[in-house]
């Protein structure tokens, strides 16, 4: 303690750390703890009853299932996207690269009504898909489309810098040793990219699970079919069922925390293998 204090030449540490801790506590920690304290006061029986009704369980299955599928689709196409942006040249590449961040910048409600307009029965794509028997808007498929939109930049932006820093010397060595391009990709390129890819997948999944704005317009919100868990919290609040809303929120928060730790671990792994390679 003494040695570190002696080495501390720069001023402002107590003020900066103190302000950071107070602000963090007031805005984030105390409000979040309200969910758990409120859940604890209502007793286990009613808590369990609130989080385990068939309608709530159906919403978990939908929310987590579709989020997982969307994150997996984003992992595949996000990797292709990042690869194309890093390795190839084509006209308009700079604009495409800049617009990858659109889902970060576009308000979710705007994305929601735009996607609904596209995929509704009379929409630009919906009118062609409907005769084929494919209903997108107001079904779980619509939720999938919205969650793919929301999650894409997470995968692209975590994988892209790793691909950029990847030295091509190893690939050249693999090629000169007789590996074909696919073997080189699979054995030489993919392993160092994998931690970043998994991080992007987990980030996209975590975001998709909590997503509300872009989903509710296109989902149709039919109980047991296309009703996501965040919407269920709002429904309970509107019925003044505060304990019910809080209990479901506690379940969502616990999964958020687990995902956050998982993502932190993945990021540490990504930094290690990235830095080492």
């Amino acid at each position: 303690m003494n040695t570190s204090a002696a080495r501390r030449v720069l001023p402002g540490f107590p003020l900066a750390l103190g302000y950071t801790l107070v602000y963090l506590s007031l805005i984030v920690l105390v409000p979040l703890s309200a969910v758990f304290l409120k859940s604890a006061t209502q007793g286990w029986e009613s808590f369990w009853a609130a989080i385990s009704t068939p309608r709530v369980v159906a919403s978990y299955q939908l929310t987590y299932g579709v989020s997982l599928l969307a994150a997996a689709i984003n992992a595949v196409f996000g990797l292709i996207f990042a690869w194309v942006l890093v390795r190839y040249t084509f006209p308009g590449k700079r604009i495409v690269d800049a617009l990858v961040d659109l889902p970060f910048a576009l308000p979710t409600a705007v994305a929601g009504i735009a996607l609904t307009a596209i995929y509704a029965g009379n929409g630009w794509l919906g009118q062609w898909l409907q005769p084929l028997g494919i209903k997108v808007a107001f079904t779980p498929l619509g939720i999938l489309v919205a969650l793919i939109f929301i999650g894409l930049p997470f995968v692209v932006r975590t994988v892209q810098p790793v691909l950029e820093d990847l030295s091509t010397e190893l690939e050249e060595a693999a090629a000169s040793l007789g590996a074909d391009r696919w073997q080189t990709f699979y054995r030489v390129v993919l392993p160092p990219v994998l931690p970043a890819l998994l991080t992007g997948f987990a980030l996209a999944f975590a975001r998709a699970v909590g997503e509300y704005g872009s989903v509710i317009f296109i989902a149709g919100n039919v109980p047991m079919v296309s009703e996501i868990t965040p919407l269920l919290i709002i429904t309970k609040l509107e019925q003044f069922d505060y304990p019910g809303a809080t209990a479901i929120a506690a379940v969502m928060l616990v999964t958020s925390f687990i995902l956050l730790f998982l993502i932190n671990g993945l990021q540490a792994w990504a930094n290690r293998s990235h830095g080492g390679g």
């Binding site: 309200a34 700079r94 705007v110 609040l237």
Partner: protein, 296 residues
């Protein structure tokens, strides 16, 4: 500037086209580019174009009428007001957190960094709910607030709190890695030479972090103005009083007033495009200064 941008990209891509051994056959490249562009057009470009096409479907007259409507104007004003309070709060926090975490060593630093990121992994709906639990009529401070006639939930303070929560990490998480990478030698030199703490910050640290700072502020602002789920929970949807632009879009849309909904949405889409343009410029300037710094 256009030429400079082009140069950047040619330099960039030459690295990978130097050797035929590290290139895919032309048909593979073609297919991969086609897949990426199709995905891009379907999931990114089409929604963006749709917003403007739907907004102008009934002509410019209807478009402008929707924007000058008193409810629309009060929603625009409220959105600007909330962002004008939330962004500076998180800016000051971000700088202070980055100063403590990047320039000093202390126990629990890793935990603190994780906790700062926490709001990103919380659902916006839960973010709104926590403030209802604290300040709502049935919340912890509810009775006290009613007694003293202070309104937080279903009023502007609630909107600000929810927005501050969801945009909490933006500035801090841009600055922490940047300031960690820059180390503390320059600041220590300034202090040893007799500069005060504030002088050191304004003259040494701030010029070094200005692009990262701007980048964080832009992203923070975009999210603050566009937030929907969290403010939806705390707003109470009182027309002309507690409706921000995204909430107003929802109301118009649910009333089947699609042209007006998309007209207001198009303003938010323009804001998003502006954010992306400024972000690209900032990234480009930041990279230029970085490479200029490395060369000198």
């Amino acid at each position: 500037m256009g030429a400079a941008v082009a140069t950047h990209w040619t330099v960039h891509s030459r690295r990978f086209e130097a050797s035929a051994a590290t290139r895919e056959p032309a048909w593979v490249r073609g297919i991969l580019i086609a897949i990426a562009l199709a995905f891009f057009a379907l999931f990114l470009l089409l929604p963006l174009v749709t917003v403007f096409a739907e907004a102008l479907r009934k002509g410019w007259g209807v478009y402008f009428a929707a924007l000058v409507d008193p409810d629309a104007r009060s929603a625009i004003f409220l959105t600007l007001l909330v962002a004008a309070i939330a962004v500076p709060l998180n800016l000051v926090f971000g700088v202070s957190a980055a100063w403590a975490i990047a320039k000093f060593n202390f126990r629990g630093k890793q935990l603190l960094t994780t906790l700062i990121d926490l709001p990103f992994s919380v659902s916006p709906v839960v973010a709104g709910l926590i403030f209802v639990l604290l300040f709502g009529a049935q919340g912890w401070f509810g009775p006290w607030l009613i007694e003293h006639d202070v309104k937080i939930i279903f009023a502007v303070p609630g909107l600000v709190l929810a927005t501050v929560f969801v945009t909490f990490p933006f500035v801090a998480r841009e600055l922490i890695p940047l300031m960690e990478a820059q180390g503390q030698e320059e600041e220590e030199a300034a202090i040893v030479l007799g500069a005060s703490g504030w002088q050191t910050f304004w003259r040494v640290t701030l010029p070094n972090i200005k692009w990262g700072l701007l980048y964080g502020v832009i992203l923070c602002n975009a999210r603050a103005m566009g937030e929907f789920g969290a403010v939806s929970v705390v707003s109470g949807h009182i027309r002309g009083r507690t409706n921000t632009m995204p909430l107003y879009v929802e109301i118009l849309y649910n009333e089947y007033n699609f042209a007006a909904a998309f007209a207001v949405a198009s303003l938010l889409a323009l804001l998003a495009l502006l954010t992306l343009v400024v972000k690209s410029l900032v990234e480009w300037r930041g990279r230029q200064e970085l490479s200029a710094g490395q060369e000198s």
